[in-house]
Symmetry: C2
């Protein structure tokens, strides 16, 4: 798969997340997916995403930057949302916060096999007036 095809596949994956189309998640994510070096598996990955949407009812994944070099993709995601309670251990409590996630994916046979994510929790802390 070339870089353009991989970019298109990644955008379809993000659309799947934004639709909360969990029955189709396995089209994009491998059964044995690893997340930040932990063996999460597809079921654990789906459960993580479902928890995220439960905690952040207006959660939406927006691609700001996309770099594809098969079999790897890197994406800068942007979030502008109002989490209900705690987020990253911070008491957001319904306030509007904006933050980035810079995330890498390794694809294998057209599906995400590993994810390495860093989320800008410090930006959220600053927006709700918390020192680090």
């Amino acid at each position: 798969m070339g870089g353009e095809d991989l970019s298109r596949l990644y955008r379809d994956y993000i659309d799947c997340l934004n639709r909360q189309d969990w029955p189709n998640l396995g089209r994009f994510v491998a059964d044995d997916v690893r997340y930040n070096d932990a063996a999460l598996g597809l079921a654990g990955y789906r459960a993580m995403l479902e928890r995220d949407f439960a905690a952040i009812p207006d959660l939406r994944f927006e691609i700001r930057l996309l770099v594809a070099e098969p079999p790897q993709v890197a994406s800068r995601l942007w979030f502008d949302c109002t989490p209900k309670g705690e987020l990253f251990g911070l008491p957001v409590d319904g306030r509007r916060v904006r933050f980035a996630e810079n995330v890498f994916y390794a694809f294998r046979e057209g599906r995400i096999a590993a994810v390495w994510s860093v989320i800008d929790a410090a930006a959220v802390a600053a927006q709700i007036g918390r020192a680090p």
Copy 2:
């Protein structure tokens, strides 16, 4: 410039940082470089790096993942170091900490014109026993 050339240029840039070869930084970084959407400029970028090495005498940039799609590069950097005092506002005080930085670069005419970085400060907080 193709993806392989851009990857090589990026590795040379990281070598330049690890050598603290500041007179050559301008070979890799544009005069009007932006960092996380702020107009830092080459002088400000160099000053930031010099402050980082002053605060972390054993600072070393290690490339864990590299994704190049001209004119963009994404890199997952790994740090294993002993900062002297505070790091990201956290009282590390000479303890050993390990953390990642997921960072995007936009190149223009063979030099870095913009950087979007997210550092895993939460990992550092956890390693020194601090809640978020």
